[in-house]
Symmetry: C2
DNA sequence: CCTACCGATCGGTAGG
DNA sequence: CCTACCGATCGGTAGG
């Protein structure tokens, strides 16, 4: 019975986090009021506090959700076999697929996390660092093995990859002529080719 | 005398727009109150309305300022001579230099413009379209002349270039080991090389 | 999950 | 450019 009550409560909570992801991504964190969130669920403003502790906690839940999705997908790419170029492609494709499949959470993760207060923001910062480290690992291995240009500064390539991937939510709209997979592959193709050594290019 | 009064008034207005660029970029449009803006200028909240019509008008001024800087710089690159690859590099370097040199205005231009109401947002949208069109022109010419891979879909390359350039404000901090010029060149090198045909690469 | 309320703050205006 | 004010709304709580 407590089970049922708990079950119901977390279902509501999940609903609330989903609505928050959508509203925060559309209107921004500061542009979304508890009233907006209540309206979205058909509840009164004050009733929301039966499910959450504060508005900021809700932001954290959405952001952390987004972070975890990127991390899980990134870990898969990191663990995959193949050349560094293959794994970098896989990583980038996964990044873009994740961003597109969970567009709301990804948008909030990328745009609104900076409004978290110090403590919660540092939790997210650690996850972001971890994620960037994954890309750095692949690039460094590619340089070491001679696949990538030795002047291709690893840190810089990481930024390029993230830059390309992170802007997707700006222009991607469901139902366009390219799906997540195609977009990821095209990005990966252009970027990875820019990293490759001449010898590798010739032999491809 | 009216001259002097007008002069004083616009100096204040410019000050206000500068403060708004900084605050909106740090705290977001909805996270910045007129009180914050007043404090930044040492004025009372209500006094700001001697210089502006509304908070939204202030957002438009900052965003439009950013748009105009990108457009001016882009027009220079478009008018420059050289191969399509040269001009695309010039364009991208200019984009990144502009973003870095006017980091606050660029950040607001890229992140906060969506909070403008329909009319003002459409004015900005037209300028964004114009800007994207400039890049499209260069890429299309590069494909036509055989410099760029024919499968390098122009629209897609535009997105890649903008994606790479638009994320700069996320990680760039003044005083880092790379300056705007170096960052722009590195980006341009990686991206343009991904667009080039094999023949062009060999002859480079 | 609601009603009713808290103090604080919001953008903006009038009148000087 | 300030004082004093407008109605509306903010996030959040108490008590049921």
């Amino acid at each position: 019975m407590t089970q049922v009550a708990e079950g119901t409560r977390s279902a509501r909570r999940a609903e609330l986090i989903g609505a928050a992801a959508r509203l925060f991504s559309e209107r921004g964190y500061h542009g979304t009021s508890m009233q907006h969130l209540g309206d979205a669920l058909g509840l009164k403003r004050g009733s929301l506090y039966a499910h959450i502790g504060s508005k900021e906690e809700l932001l954290f839940d959405v952001v952390d959700d987004g972070a975890e999705r990127f991390l899980a997908r990134g870990a898969e790419a990191l663990a995959s076999t193949g050349t560094a170029a293959d794994r970098l492609s896989t990583f980038l494709i996964g990044h873009i697929e994740t961003a597109i499949e969970h567009l709301d959470a990804a948008t909030v993760f990328l745009n609104e996390w900076r409004y978290l207060s110090d403590h919660l923001r540092s939790v997210v910062q650690a996850k972001r660092d971890h994620y960037e480290g994954m890309i750095g690992t692949i690039v460094t291995e590619g340089v070491a093995s001679g696949e990538f240009r030795s002047d291709a500064d690893a840190r810089f390539a990481v930024l390029l990859v993230l830059s390309a991937g992170n802007w997707v939510y700006e222009w991607y709209r469901p139902g366009g002529r390219l799906g997540p997979q195609e977009i990821g592959e095209k990005f990966a193709d252009l970027i990875v080719s820019g990293l490759k050594t001449k010898r590798q290019k010739g032999s491809a």
